[in-house]
């Protein structure tokens, strides 16, 4: 089912095209020279959605397109904001250690016009809550995601709506790195697909210590079994070779949070 979703779809007049991915349900149709799309997630509706029509409380959205045809292209993409990733099990990385972990995150679905690549809509397969990465006075909005930070994905159940991201963490500082929270800039990653599922190219995070920015390098290295031909979507933002960011910044030291005022 997952493979059939992706790629070009021709919508027939009046006929509803339906797909489900993760918690996302999406209905599309071509009507009066317009493309109609409705979507919802499991928790947003009371009754289980069916393939015939969206629930009553879900509204259709309409697009009048230039060419007047009902062709769309569906592809997987990364979320539109960085992810603040919380490791379910605290992982401490000793000084001088270099490890590789795998984190899996829910993909987004992009529906666009195939001719112009104009994006009609993007929808998460699993809705993530939002969070703030930074201090009370400055920072950025991110999505909040949990990961088990596995060392190996070979024995893990495949999930068609998840993308596996290999992350190489290098602790170049003299202190222990408490790998609990980090900000993962997924907007700079490419997505690939093979029979195992979706994969991102490798990210390397070089931890220099608490007071210095961490180096975030999109190495471009592909996981085993993945080639450039397997590319399904490009990064949302241009890849910089190295990006010094506050990846492991301590989030908050606001005393008001301690004293509740």
């Amino acid at each position: 089912m997952a493979r059939e979703i992706w790629g070009n779809v021709s919508l027939e007049d009046g006929k509803v095209h339906y797909f489900a991915m993760g918690e996302l349900h999406c209905w599309m149709k071509y009507h009066h020279e317009e493309i109609w799309i409705a979507h919802c997630h499991n928790h947003e509706v009371k009754q289980k959605p069916n393939s015939e029509a969206p629930p009553e409380e879900i509204e259709w959205q309409r697009w009048a397109t230039q060419n007047g045809k009902g062709h769309v292209n569906i592809l997987p993409v990364f979320p539109d904001l960085p992810l603040v990733v919380n490791s379910e099990y605290a992982l401490k990385i000793s000084p001088g250690t270099r490890i590789q972990i795998f984190c899996r995150f829910p993909i987004w679905v992009r529906i666009r016009l195939p001719e112009t690549t104009y994006t009609l809509i993007e929808m998460p397969t699993i809705k993530l809550s939002r969070t703030w990465f930074g201090t009370p006075t400055e920072g950025e909005l991110c999505y909040f995601a949990k990961t088990k930070a596995r060392r190996d994905l070979s024995n893990v159940d495949k999930r068609p709506n998840m993308v596996a991201c290999p992350i190489r963490v290098v602790n170049k500082s003299g202190d222990e790195l408490n790998f609990e929270h980090f900000c993962f800039r997924v907007e700079r990653l490419s997505m690939y697909r093979n029979e195992e599922g979706f994969w991102a190219d490798e990210t390397q995070i070089i931890y220099q210590g608490e007071d210095l920015n961490s180096d975030v390098i999109m190495t471009g290295n592909l996981p085993k079994g993945i080639t450039k031909k397997d590319l399904v979507s490009r990064p949302r933002k241009e890849i910089h070779k190295s990006l010094a960011t506050r990846t492991f910044k301590r989030f908050f030291e606001d005393t008001s949070l301690i004293f509740g005022r």
Binding site: S129, R130, W132, T137, G139, L141, F144, F251
Partner: protein, 295 residues
């Protein structure tokens, strides 16, 4: 045709070549200066708005335009042969008189300069001064202009802003909503906490971090008072405030958690016994008392 010739001849008698040259010169000065000033004002406004903030752009535009107009006027006056010396002399005397009369205005201007230097807020921020809350439309030399949310125009002198506490609601990107949640004494506080945290997790405007916080505030007279602290992006604060309180109410109703009204319990004698109350019909009451019941 004869009339036009006569008119031209008559005009020639009054307007000499020199006068024509002067008019032409003045026209040229105005024709060049005015468009140039408008151009410079626009450029200054765009440049400073892009580099700093909209209100700096506005100020820069005014700083370029009004002195430019003055220079143009003085240039025209010097072309007309009007000496500035008597004007300056008169201005000095007038200045002294105006000085006494315009103490407040001067104070406002100086306060405005301090506001620019200190930058407690900028254009498009939402601020609260005394009981007035509104969006900053402009920060001018004498006053700050606000537009309230019910679309009223409020002019606040700069001097007043310097002297008063000003709250900038939108200065920081996130804001915390403090909800007061009261539950009956009989409720399990641990369970209430779990439910509130679940509500915060599911609310689309509430941020996961900073983490929502629940604080046991007080043993109230009618209820146990909790503080439910949740963060949201500043632009979504109102949406959070509306939705989360509705969700708390709905969920409490679903879970059977009582939000008590203010109430007082009266005890007769023993602290553990309630006042005895017996319901009687009107006829029973009459027969027992021997009097007709009061309407």
């Amino acid at each position: 045709m004869g009339f036009l010739q006569d008119l031209f001849f008559n005009i020639n008698n009054y307007i000499t070549e020199e006068t024509l040259q002067l008019i032409f010169k003045l026209g040229l000065i105005v024709a060049i200066s005015l468009p140039l000033l408008f151009l410079l004002r626009g450029w200054a406004r765009r440049f400073f708005t892009k580099k700093y903030a909209p209100h700096y752009g506005m100020l820069a535009g005014k700083l370029v335009f009004y002195p430019g107009i003055l220079i143009m006027i003085f240039t025209i006056m010097s072309q007309l042969g009007i000496s500035l010396a008597p004007l300056l002399g008169a201005a000095g005397i007038v200045g002294v008189a105006l000085g006494f009369a315009s103490q407040t205005s001067v104070s406002n201007i100086i306060s405005g300069l301090f506001l620019i230097a200190e930058q407690p807020f900028k254009v498009d921020d939402i601020i609260t001064i005394n009981n007035t809350t509104g969006i900053v439309m402009s920060i001018d030399g004498l006053s700050v202009k606000l537009r309230t949310f019910d679309n009223q125009f409020v002019r606040i002198p700069n001097e007043m802003i310097i002297k008063t506490e000003v709250t900038n609601v939108t200065r920081f990107p996130i804001r915390r909503f403090n909800a007061r949640v009261s539950v009956a004494y009989k409720e399990d506080i641990g369970r209430v906490r779990q439910i509130l945290m679940d509500i915060a997790e599911k609310n689309e405007y509430a941020l996961s971090e900073p983490e929502p916080l629940i604080i046991f505030d007080a043993f109230g007279t009618s209820s146990i008072d909790l503080l439910f602290l949740v963060w949201a992006p500043v632009k979504e604060y109102i949406m959070l405030k509306n939705t989360i309180q509705e969700e708390v109410k709905a969920r409490f109703d679903e879970e059977g958690i009582e939000i008590p009204f203010p109430h007082v319990s009266i005890y007769a004698g023993s602290a553990s016994k309630a006042l005895p109350i017996e319901m009687k019909s009107a006829d029973q009451a009459e027969s027992e008392s021997g009097h007709s019941p009061q309407p």
